[in-house]
């Protein structure tokens, strides 16, 4: 089974922008409702480094693809295994990030404490996702 690089990029972009958008929207509502009190900056300081580097990378790639409309670029075949690995890792990462926010009501810790604590599992996970994304975008058939 072969997949074009452009289609794979679109799939990954959908995952990341939808997931990032949901996270952004929840955090926005919580900030408006004062859930984080005077620690709202800490909350946004947790979200931005988690998703923005990947989103920025994707935007940059899409801009480059838009500027380079040669037929050669459009026909590049992607590594399916690498795409699937990156795709599922991205989904898993965004789900974990989402659960970090959605499970706050069930914890005895404050939301900001949970976010600080989540660096323990989010950090390594983010490293894996970033590495797979970089490898996918750099490796073309």
């Amino acid at each position: 089974m072969e997949m074009k690089m452009v289609e794979c990029k679109k799939h990954l972009a959908v995952v990341w922008f939808v997931g990032g958008g949901v996270l952004f929207f929840i955090l926005f509502l919580q900030s408006i409702r004062g859930v984080y009190g005077d620690k709202v900056a800490d909350a946004w300081g947790w979200l931005m480094p988690s998703i923005m580097p990947t989103l920025s990378l994707m935007i940059a790639v899409f801009v480059m693809d838009a500027l380079n409309k040669s037929r050669q670029v459009q026909d590049v075949i992607a590594d399916v295994f690498l795409f699937r690995l990156t795709f599922y890792l991205s989904i898993a990462y965004l789900v974990v990030a989402l659960l970090t926010i959605l499970l706050q009501p069930f914890s005895t810790s404050s939301p900001s404490e949970i976010m600080q604590l989540s660096h323990l599992w989010m950090g390594p996970f983010q490293g894996l996702v970033t590495a797979s994304l970089g490898a996918f975008f750099m490796k073309n058939k």
Binding site: V35, P105, S110
Partner: protein
């Protein structure tokens, strides 16, 4: 016939004399032989403690009281008169003689002076003098015992008071900050609620008020409390408890927990509410101040940490020195309610000034005001 009677009289008198001598030997108290003038003059009726403590047998008037003062607890035993039979030879010093030794010595000396057969009357006179001396010694011993008993009693009474006083000295009563820091709400507990009807006619004491308050608090679930001294009265501090915004205490164990309350029952609406709203935690400490002294609350900020320290720093019961004071009409029981608000994002709360509720509402919601104990 006369000869037989004479022989019979002689035998009888000889037997009587023998019996009398035997009785004198077994008598517990003895007299000093005339030849042993260096020995103590009286060896009897001496307190055991005096013997054991000082090693010699004294019958002086000061012996027993000294023993009683030196060891007031042992004084009842020490002051009890004893016979010389209980004196151990091992414990007696060389210049002290037991009663049997003295009587034996007396008999020997009588023999030496008067011979075995002659001067019996003189020996009897000596024995009579010794017995008289022994009797006097016994009487003296009783007097000593009585004196020592009185002395012991006299020494013991102030000692007991001293122990009580010492206890109160050694366990100082912590004082509540005075004047009290300004509270979120205040309520005056009516005097008729503080005392049972049974005590209305008698002279009530502060411990009666404490009993009523404690019972009302127990019924409302406040089992932890501590006592402080305030001018002419006392202050009772309850444990910091978590409450709802309307003043109702939360169910245990959340009631006494300072941790954030997690979502226990799941429903979509409660979940969304918990996710998108920041419900602060409300906490409360109630301080009952019972004193006739009027006071204005001091403008000082109390933190929830201070309130926790209040519970830990007080006494577990009302001291007798305060509780035995009379409760008069001039006393007032003031309930100071310190209410704290803890934001969801913070671990500590700050006092609400003024509080959301009145002091009486707090007491009613806490089920203290409505406790059955008030109904008597």
């Amino acid at each position: 016939m006369n000869m037989i009677r004479l022989i019979g009289v002689i035998i009888l008198s000889t037997w009587i004399c023998g019996c009398a001598e035997k009785a004198a030997v077994t008598r517990p108290v003895g007299a000093v032989p005339p030849t042993t003038k260096s020995a103590p003059t009286v060896v009897s009726s001496a307190p055991v403690a005096a013997q054991s403590n000082q090693g010699v047998v004294f019958s002086g008037a000061t012996g027993a009281p000294i023993a009683a003062e030196a060891a007031p607890v042992a004084a009842p035993i020490a002051a009890k008169p004893t016979t010389s039979k209980r004196v151990s030879k091992k414990s007696a010093p060389p210049n002290v003689y037991s009663a049997s030794e003295q009587l034996e010595g007396h008999a020997k000396s009588a023999k030496a002076v008067y011979g075995d057969t002659g001067q019996k009357a003189e020996a009897d006179a000596n024995r009579a003098r010794a017995e008289a001396k022994a009797k006097a010694s016994r009487e003296e011993g009783i007097v000593i015992w009585k004196k020592s008993a009185r002395g012991e009693a006299m020494a013991r009474a102030p000692a007991a008071e001293g122990v009580v006083a010492k206890l109160f000295v050694e366990v100082p009563i912590p004082s509540f900050p005075w004047p009290p820091p300004v509270a979120s709400a205040t309520a005056i507990v009516p005097q008729y609620l503080l005392l049972p009807k049974t005590l209305a006619t008698s002279t009530p004491m502060l411990k009666d008020v404490d009993a009523t308050l404690s019972k009302a608090l127990d019924l409302a679930g406040y089992t932890d409390k501590s006592y402080y001294a305030v001018p002419q009265g006392f202050a009772m501090v309850t444990r910091l408890e978590r409450i709802d915004a309307d003043g109702t205490p939360m169910q245990e164990p959340t009631r006494w927990s300072m941790e954030k309350k997690p979502l226990s029952k799941f429903s979509f609406s409660t979940y969304l509410k918990a996710l998108f709203t920041a419900e602060p935690g409300y906490y409360r400490v109630i301080v009952f101040v019972v004193t006739p002294v009027p006071f204005a609350q001091k403008d000082a900020v109390v933190t929830d940490a201070d309130a926790r320290v209040w519970l830990e720093g007080g006494l577990n019961k009302l001291p007798e020195s305060i509780g035995s004071a009379a409760y008069t009409d001039g006393f007032t029981c003031t309930a100071l309610v310190y209410e704290f608000e803890q934001p969801a994002t913070q671990k500590s709360g700050k006092i609400m000034m003024p509080g959301l509720l009145s002091g009486k509402t707090h007491l009613i919601k806490a089920r203290i005001w409505s406790a059955n104990v008030w109904e008597h």
